[in-house]
Symmetry: C2
Subunit: 477 residues, 2 copies
């Protein structure tokens, strides 16, 4: 049973989802505000999740030939200026370094908001021949965007991410890589974070500054809002032409490279909280849980109890990330804390259990309790973690599906967004005006044109002209 004091401290999701989110972030000690406006501290419990995300994602990158590099964090203004659409997109939200040491700089440097321009500048010198291609580089770093309104993990002036930047000999190859990385993201979301994603293409209005096509994985949060969880961009040869990145091809002619970029950020921690969390707090999918099993000794002052807890920890540590909560708090408080922090499994063990050669396993998501013989602990724990990971994904998918609606016309469309919250599938004519109108009226944006198209109607939900694409619409973080 959870300790009252602890539980009462979180606002319920139903009452105020935004406050619930802030409470969970704070109470589970994931991150905190700082004296640096708009920036956050990622605390150990939050950073450990990011480390596991990095490890998993990085291994998946390396499996598809990605190599890591590190480029400077500063971009000279003249470099940022080279690609017209790109600079227009980013210039209004960058931080500028104007002084170095005691001197005014001859040229302002912006702190990278993203590194396309730096990679182009690098590739220009590093690529000469078709033998130098493809380049499939990635970097893990922090970037800065001078946002006005910030929220922990979801939007902050500095955030951590990875940014992949590739260069290819042909347009086909760069398109292939763009989609390959989108698929890496979608599989990672499903298999590791237990988050089902809609894969699709962004509209012209929503695409990345400088790209010819932007693809996205869109996830649905528990409150029915959408979260863009990763994007992959095909730049064609636009950047290459702006920066002069040419190579001598096999036929001895000079050609421009074709480029891509793709990124995922610490936003994913926000996604994980908002997809899986509940009114007891955080629920972490086992594969990225820094602590998978928390052992709580009951009546720990009785002889042998703590020793047994440590013995179980040492046994479990061979296969799992495990800790013993041997603090001087009450068991009830520890139970509540373990729930708040989202540990997938809590093992309760007291003097009577020890005598009977058993313990109690409590699964975080369903809060189901099972008595387990001590000799079967490893097997049972492995089973439960596996099941939990699988069922978390199934539950998230069921939630998404039950919050995905269809609108055939504007009346239905408005009614859904006025009464409900979720994705709405509706047809679109392809014009920016309709997107603008929908955004202004309902604060709803096109999330993507999904790869899996359906012919819901023949006309655009907004203007009634012939429809070109089915679009997922939603209110987004």
């Amino acid at each position: 049973m959870a300790d009252k004091k602890m539980v009462e401290a979180i606002t319920s999701m139903e009452e105020d989802f935004a406050q619930w989110y802030t409470d969970v972030v704070k109470k589970a000690e994931l991150c905190d505000y700082t004296s640096v406006k708009g920036c956050m501290v990622i605390k150990p419990a939050g950073y450990a999740i990011w480390e596991l995300i990095q490890k998993e994602l990085d291994a998946r990158f390396k499996a598809v030939g990605v190599q890591n590099v590190y480029l400077p964090m500063f971009i000279p203004e003249s470099l940022l200026d080279k690609e017209k659409d790109h600079v227009e997109g980013f210039a209004p939200e960058v931080a500028w370094v104007t002084q170095g040491g005691l001197n005014e700089l001859p040229e302002r440097l912006c702190v990278r908001p993203t590194s396309e321009t730096l990679f182009c500048d690098f590739y220009k010198n590093d690529i000469h021949s078709y033998r130098d291609l493809p380049k499939v580089y990635n970097q893990w770093c922090s970037v800065v965007r001078w946002e006005k309104e910030t929220r922990p993990f979801l939007r902050s002036r500095e955030f951590l991410w990875q940014e992949g930047h590739t260069a290819h000999a042909t347009a086909e190859e760069s398109q292939e890589r763009t989609l390959q990385m989108l698929n890496v993201y979608a599989k990672f979301l499903e298999e590791v974070l237990a988050i089902p994603a809609i894969k699709g293409q962004k509209t012209e209005k929503e695409k990345f500054a400088g790209a010819i096509a932007t693809y996205t994985v869109e996830a649905l949060m528990h409150d029915g809002k959408a979260l863009q969880s990763g994007t992959s961009h095909n730049f064609g040869d636009g950047f290459a032409k702006a920066f002069g990145i040419q190579f001598a091809d096999k036929d001895n002619t000079l050609k421009y490279v074709h480029q891509t970029s793709w990124g995922m950020t610490t936003r994913l921690i926000g996604a994980l909280i908002m997809v899986h969390g509940d009114n007891e707090g955080l629920v972490i999918p086992p594969r990225v849980a820094p602590i998978q099993i928390c052992i709580v000794p009951v009546m720990q002052k009785k002889e042998g109890v703590l020793d047994k807890a440590y013995e179980l920890r040492d046994r479990l540590a061979k296969d799992f990330r495990v800790k013993v909560d041997d603090s001087d708090k009450t068991p009830g408080f520890k139970f509540a804390e373990a729930e708040m922090r989202g540990y997938p499994i809590r093992v309760e063990i007291g003097p009577k259990d020890i005598e009977a050669g058993k313990c109690v396993i409590c699964r975080r998501d369903t809060r189901e309790k099972t008595e387990v013989a001590l000799e079967e602990l490893e097997t049972k724990a492995a089973e439960i973690l596996e099941t939990m990971q699988k069922e978390m994904l199934e539950r998230a998918r069921a939630h998404r599906d039950s919050h995905t609606y269809v609108a055939h016309n504007m009346e239905e469309f408005e009614q859904i967004f006025n009464e409900k919250s979720g994705f709405v599938k509706a047809m679109w004519c392809g014009c920016r005006e309709c997107e603008d109108q929908i955004k202004e009226k309902l604060a709803v944006t096109s999330r993507c044109m999904p790869f899996e198209q359906e012919q819901i109607a023949d006309t655009c939900v907004c203007c009634g002209k012939p429809a070109k694409k089915m679009v997922y619409w939603g209110r987004a973080y």
Copy 2:
């Protein structure tokens, strides 16, 4: 046999060590200059070494209770100003952000040169009671120092590092942690990078801005110059008092915490190059070699050769980091390239070898060649890597010892530094004036007061007054 063209391209160490270093960095494709003055690109071969350094060091940190976090990259000027010595030390060499988005900032932000002030600001809010102590946090990030002269890995305006920052209830505990982390560094250098280090304390003149004591691990490069390879600082309660970091102790009184910090950087890659490299190029200690074994097929167009090379790779990949060089270069060129890049083992396999069921292993550091039966390849490779790691350390230690001199008086001291290059052990009175004089005259600095003291003489090598400490002196990077 190595390809002439390739080998001739490097300046020899004996001819011009600085040029040799630059050539190796460039030819082994570790890093490169960029359009961003004073900043570098760390290329895949260099970054992969850094990843292995991180992995090893991070595991050693976690084994002594360190937790990772992430703090903002910006420090408001008022925060940097809080500790007097610290701001004096760093303010002249920081980069300042003065504009965010389209607006002038109300207060300048410096890009972190180090994060003591940010950690203090965070701890002030996060530490309340003795139960919150100790805090043993670390972050992996990049920092910026506006250096005038830069050199790849050794000194650049932006570099990668880890910075540990801890807070403790007592002075004893913070001193203990300071030395514990210094020992982690020394063991890491020896066991992983095969670099023997002198452990000792910095003099007042050389200590970190704001510390009460700075400890260092000093390594000797092949050219006899010293490289400070890691430092660990005890701050006492100086920062705590400047920032007001207090906790309620068990006796219910408010006390100031005691703090430490410690760091290692991408400089270590420079150290590795300059300790182990030779006139053929880079030599990477097996434990941090991104490629431990490079298989070079000979007459690879003959049927079965490439297949055999891939088969061996697949076998070796179970235990080692391995690649096949199946490019269309000549074997001679590939051999030279494998040497330049410092792969510990090169495996040569051609049609005759396959027929005889054997291959040739060439060890990078000694260039010793051994014929090995194919079925014994794994065992033999493991043996050679182990031996190589061990002997690289022994060789580095022998080099350091044979380049460590003793001076009893100023005449000897000057003569050594005029004729030779290395560490000089000599007595010191403890006065800054003598250090200043020695630096001015010989461009030599005190590297450290080693933990292992010897009584070489009774008087200071410089002023002749009674000696207090034996000091390691040297010319440093």
